[in-house]
């Protein structure tokens, strides 16, 4: 038995928001693949819970009229990975969620839960940073939308106030059209493991594919929250496509990290791996964008 003081099971988003307004102290349970493990471990006991399991309207992955990709927060990782919309437009997000846990966990774990947990290692989070995703948060009274970087406040803490519910993960057309990305998770095992570090990048090349017009570099487990690496991005932006430029950007990106020592890995090792996987992700992103990486910048 899990130590739940009460379990509310709304059938619609409207009901869920009413319940959350009436019970501001209630915790939210999405797929349960993290929360039920914590409960089993004796944590989070004696609380009221709102189960979102019945809210099928939040499981859909759709394109809005303005081509904004709208991912329902209750979409399971398997659903995200199989979605034609995601595979066609944000393929690195499909790759990222397929590195989570194992097949059974990916079928119940949700992308919204992964983000709302606020942990820096969340595999979907760094990729959402790399695609400039926005988080739509609803209450009984209205809706607000904020960039994912603002959604993450500090370690384990996201900008979700009492009574609020994430109702969408949005990626605008300008954030994905013409962009190509890649994800790399470094962990001890190929399955059922948490990232020691991870990296997700996206790039946009010029029409002749000779110049990096813009780049985004995002890291997981490089700081208390997932982060972008503005120094690394600046080092690549506007530069001719070359391996040297990629290597320099990957190195520069480390200036933005605040990795720490833990029993999983030392700070120095994390920084070394972050630079290496950033290099690989940027290289792969550029190749996917049709760029040819030469050893040196063309004169």
């Amino acid at each position: 038995m899990f130590d739940l003081k009460a379990l509310y099971i709304p059938d619609t988003v409207e009901e869920a928001l009413t319940l959350l307004a009436e019970h501001p102290d209630a915790h939210i349970m999405a797929g349960g693949s993290d929360t039920l493990v914590k409960l089993r471990d004796g944590k989070l006991g004696g609380l009221e819970w709102v189960s979102l399991h019945g809210l099928d309207e939040l499981r859909r992955i759709t394109l809005d009229d303005d081509d904004t990709i709208r991912i329902g927060p209750l979409a399971s990782f398997t659903q995200v990975a199989r979605s034609a919309i995601v595979r066609g437009r944000l393929p690195s997000l499909a790759e990222a969620v397929l590195t989570i846990g194992g097949p059974q966990v990916r079928k119940i774990g949700t992308i919204g839960g992964n983000l709302c947990n606020g942990v820096p290692s969340a595999d979907s989070a760094s990729t959402c940073f790399a695609w400039d995703a926005e988080i739509e948060v609803s209450t009984a009274d209205g809706v607000r939308t904020l960039p994912i970087a603002d959604f993450y406040l500090s370690a384990g803490k996201v900008d979700l106030r009492p009574g609020e519910l994430v109702t969408g993960i949005l990626v605008r057309r300008a954030a994905y059209q013409g962009w190509h990305g890649a994800y790399h998770k470094y962990a001890m095992r190929n399955a059922m493991d948490i990232a020691t570090v991870n990296c997700s990048t996206t790039v946009r090349l010029s029409a002749d594919r000779s110049t990096v017009e813009d780049a985004r570099i995002a890291f997981g487990v490089a700081a208390p929250t997932p982060i972008r690496a503005p120094h690394g991005e600046a080092a690549l932006r506007g530069r001719p496509v070359s391996q040297a430029a990629v290597d320099a950007a990957a190195k520069a990106a480390i200036a933005d990290t605040r990795a720490r020592d833990s029993w999983r890995a030392a700070k120095a090792f994390r920084e070394h791996m972050l630079a290496e996987i950033a290099r690989r992700c940027l290289t792969q992103s550029i190749v996917r964008a049709g760029g040819r990486l030469t050893e040196k910048s063309p004169a």
Partner: protein
């Protein structure tokens, strides 16, 4: 109704083709419900934190870990456990038979979960390569067999399932030019 939080909820679902209605404690996991209330002891409790896959069951045809799934969530759904794999006469399913023939079993604790994930894969009609099968079976821990015979068994079951489809309506649908 849904704005209250009763300790027990009445739910109706299907287990191995049988319709079941039960009053369920909202705090129980699906593995609790299946083992303790329904006596389906093929559902093994291994780690109880979603790591080992021993408690896997099929919900609407999809394998999930029943230890980290609340019992009340199966309301209206269709559950399959290993008890439901053989037919009424006790003939083993294609997957079960393949596990026997490939000696994919030692102590047997991981077997019910693996049979169900394998059943999902085989019944999907897709053919998975060995590497893909390794990925698809990664949610199950087996401490005895070293996995090789399990992979052999699933490959054998895939081949037999494909063969059994020849001549079926789905087969003619797939091979008939439009």
């Amino acid at each position: 109704m849904s704005l209250t939080a009763p300790q027990f909820r009445e739910i109706s679902f299907t287990v191995n083709g049988r319709r079941v209605t039960r009053s369920v404690d909202v705090r129980s996991s699906l593995s609790d419900l299946l083992r303790e209330d329904l006596g389906l002891l093929s559902v093994k409790k291994g780690c109880e934190v979603g790591e080992c896959g021993a408690c896997s069951v099929l919900i609407d045809g999809v394998a999930i870990d029943s230890c980290i799934y609340l019992a009340v969530w199966v309301d209206g759904k269709e559950v399959r456990t290993t008890e439901g794999l053989a037919d009424e006469d006790g003939n083993l399913s294609i997957v079960q038979q393949a596990f026997v023939e490939a000696t994919a079993i030692q102590c047997g604790f991981c077997t019910p979960g693996l049979l169900l994930t394998a059943t999902e894969l085989v019944e999907s009609g897709q053919t998975y390569t060995r590497d893909e099968l390794r990925t698809e079976l990664a949610g199950h821990l087996c401490r005895c067999t070293g996995y090789q015979n399990i992979l052999n068994a699933v490959e054998l079951a895939q081949a037999r399932h494909a063969e059994a489809q020849i001549g079926s309506p789905e087969f003619w649908e797939a091979v008939t030019p439009r």
